[in-house]
């Protein structure tokens, strides 16, 4: 039992259960204790450590530690901690508890040694994160939250169905690499996980919901759902070639949409799809170097993406809007946020000395070393788009461009700056000392990021992309528009679907109900006075009650006949 309570995911969920009983003042501070406890557990548990239990007839491995789960455990705990600092000023109990359950779910998935434990934590993540969207309490977020939830229920359902099928065919519940064949079980599980990894065309929940989540909620969201899915893909589906192509395609898809979008948080949301594309591509390539690259990139990505969502969240908090058309010229009003944002922006763009450089390069080179030069060039193309949209377009049209923007800017809480500072420091630290990250990777690292070739490559690409941006920036100027995505098909189909599956079904039930009531009414009327049936000469005006003595005789006779018949039959 004590061991059960030391599972990192359980620590955070227990924390969420404890928070409502504590005074509001101490809650934000105590929030930070649970991720720290989880971090201590992650660091102190050796490889091969496990916590087991039984549920019904199944032996569960609720926690299992190895190099891969440890590195994801570290970054999930760290992010829950820094996001907790970022949200320190936020006093809303619902958001605090759900954020902890959400982080706990991600940690639970990471350390789950069996598929049943995994799917339980998986579903917990889906439900708790939906709260972080609904917590903004607008009509728009109500709809987005519902679409998000439905998508994740579908994903969770597919995964669970796949797990049950897998159990039925192999008899195994272990979280392990599955045979590389397109069996029903494998395809169902892969589809379920791909929904959470936002693999196109199953990605729209992300671009729909993340920009609409609360300022603090989107920081948590940027870290956990997609990256825990990346972890499961790494664990179960490394080397599935289809993933390499889907990954490369989503890397490009994300950046094209990031150039189209005009909402700063939507741009970042599409960039999650793009960056997760790098990881999915690495997993699909499947060599040790590619898997290391995907893992390292997930680690780096969680850090800089949290920083980017924190700084754009700060802009939203301060100005009340995230639409570029209302922003611009904020440099004098929010200079520190700009510099902190730029640390994240150059990190995601893979600029040398920042943490994106040490992990993105590894993933791209892994594609090249594995002989897949097409995928390598696709990822390089996506890198150009990343620098173009997150590194140049977004900051230019948010902090510069206009000089006459008189938008009111609210003062930011100090804790926001502290959180952004910590994460920015981590981005630079890992960029300068890549060995501190590489030592935790699942396979031995023989990769040197700071080579002259690599530096020349990145600097040339970045410089000329910058030139291109400068010449074409007017084409990317803010406009008051939204960009449709493939969710258009089901959002537009929603009224028709509702008509067929809800209104038509409702009408059918109504008709059946009317019919049954009609029959009941008819029968009641007909049987009000059975004497009319037994004696055709009865007058219509006679009431049944006046016949009661004779009725009793008739009924008694019928009953008696039944009794006699029953006795004769049974004997």
């Amino acid at each position: 039992m004590i061991e059960f309570l030391t599972i990192p995911g359980v620590i955070l969920i227990a924390g969420a259960l404890l928070l409502p009983f504590l005074p509001a003042k101490v809650r934000p501070s105590l929030f930070l204790v649970f991720p720290l406890l989880a971090l201590i557990v992650v660091f102190t548990r050796p490889d091969g450590y496990s916590v087991t239990g039984t549920l019904l007839n199944y032996d569960l491995v609720m926690m299992e530690v190895d190099a891969l789960s440890r590195i994801f455990g570290i970054i999930f705990s760290l992010t829950a901690f820094t996001a907790g600092i970022y949200a320190y000023h936020m006093k809303e109990l619902g958001q605090q508890c759900n954020a902890l359950v959400y982080a706990g779910g991600a940690l639970g998935v990471t350390f789950a040694g069996d598929l049943l434990t995994l799917v339980i934590f998986w579903e917990l993540m889906a439900v708790s994160s939906t709260w972080l969207i609904w917590a903004r309490r607008t009509k728009e977020t109500d709809g987005a939250g519902m679409r998000y939830l439905i998508y994740h229920i579908l994903g969770g359902g597919l995964l669970f169905a796949g797990i049950l099928w897998h159990l039925a065919t192999t008899g195994s519940l272990a979280v392990e690499t599955v045979a590389r064949e397109y069996s029903v079980a494998n395809v169902l599980m892969l589809l379920g996980v791909c929904i959470n990894a936002a693999v196109i065309p199953l990605h729209t929940w992300l671009a729909d919901a993340y920009p609409k989540a609360t300022v603090t909620g989107s920081v948590f969201m940027s870290a956990f759902t997609t990256k825990s899915a990346v972890y499961v893909l790494l664990r179960m589906f490394p080397g599935w070639e289809v993933l390499a192509w889907f990954g490369a395609a989503m890397a490009i898809y994300g950046v094209i949409y990031a150039v189209i979008c005009k909402d700063i948080r939507e741009i970042l949301a599409y960039h999650i799809i793009s960056q997760v594309g790098f990881m999915v591509c690495g997993i699909g390539i499947g060599t040790e170097m590619a898997q290391n690259g995907a893992t390292a990139h997930a680690y780096s990505h969680i850090l800089y993406k949290a920083l980017l969502f924190m700084s754009t969240g700060a802009v939203l908090y301060a100005t009340g809007t995230s639409r570029m058309v209302h922003l611009g010229g904020l440099f004098k009003k929010m200079p520190y946020v700009f510099f902190l944002y730029m640390v994240g922006a150059v990190s995601i763009s893979g600029i040398p000395l920042f943490n994106g450089f040490i992990s993105k390069g590894m993933t791209i080179d892994a594609a090249g070393y594995a002989g897949n030069e097409t995928a390598m060039l696709m990822l390089l193309l996506a890198s150009v788009g990343t620098w173009l949209s997150v590194g140049l377009k977004l900051p230019y049209f948010t902090w510069f461009d206009k000089t006459d923007n008189d938008i009111e800017v609210k003062k930011l809480p100090v804790n926001m700056y502290i959180a952004m500072g910590i994460v920015a420091f981590a981005c630079i630290f890992y960029g300068l000392f890549p060995g501190t990250l590489y030592m935790y990777l699942p396979f031995e690292v023989n990769y040197q990021p700071y080579t002259i070739y690599h530096l020349v490559e990145v600097i040339q690409i970045s410089l000329l992309t910058f030139l291109g941006f400068w010449l074409l920036k007017k084409k990317m100027a803010p406009e008051p528009i939204i960009a449709l995505d493939v969710d258009w098909f089901f959002r537009k189909a929603a009224p028709a679907t509702r008509f067929v599956f809800v209104q038509k079904v409702d009408a059918f039930y109504d008709r059946v109900e009317d019919g049954i009531l009609g029959i009941a009414r008819w029968l009641t009327e007909k049987f009000r006075n059975p004497m009319k049936w037994l004696n055709p000469f009865t007058k219509d005006t006679n009431e049944a009650s006046s016949y009661s003595p004779s009725m009793e005789v008739v009924m008694s006779f019928i009953l008696f006949s039944f009794l006699v018949f029953a006795i004769v039959y049974l004997l």
């Binding site: 150009v384 070739y453 040339q460």
Partner: protein, 70 residues
């Protein structure tokens, strides 16, 4: 952007070209290493391609008013 900024960026670019044609002259791990200043060209061409493709998609297919779904 002031002129000095462009000059700094220009110098940086020339330095990378210098490395490419000296230290990395014999480097050959991909077919494109034979193309001089490939990564610079790649950056510029891709930047133009992404912007124009995105603009085309935006204009003709996906851009709508804010209240489109309302």
């Amino acid at each position: 952007m002031k002129t000095i900024h462009w000059i700094i960026l220009g110098i940086l670019f020339v330095i990378t070209l210098g490395f490419e044609f000296t230290v990395l002259a014999g480097y050959d791990s991909h077919w494109w290493n034979a193309i001089p200043a490939f990564y610079a060209l790649f950056g510029l061409v891709c930047c133009y391609a992404i912007v124009y493709v995105a603009k085309f998609i935006a204009k003709n297919i996906v851009n709508r008013d804010f209240n489109y779904y309302d």
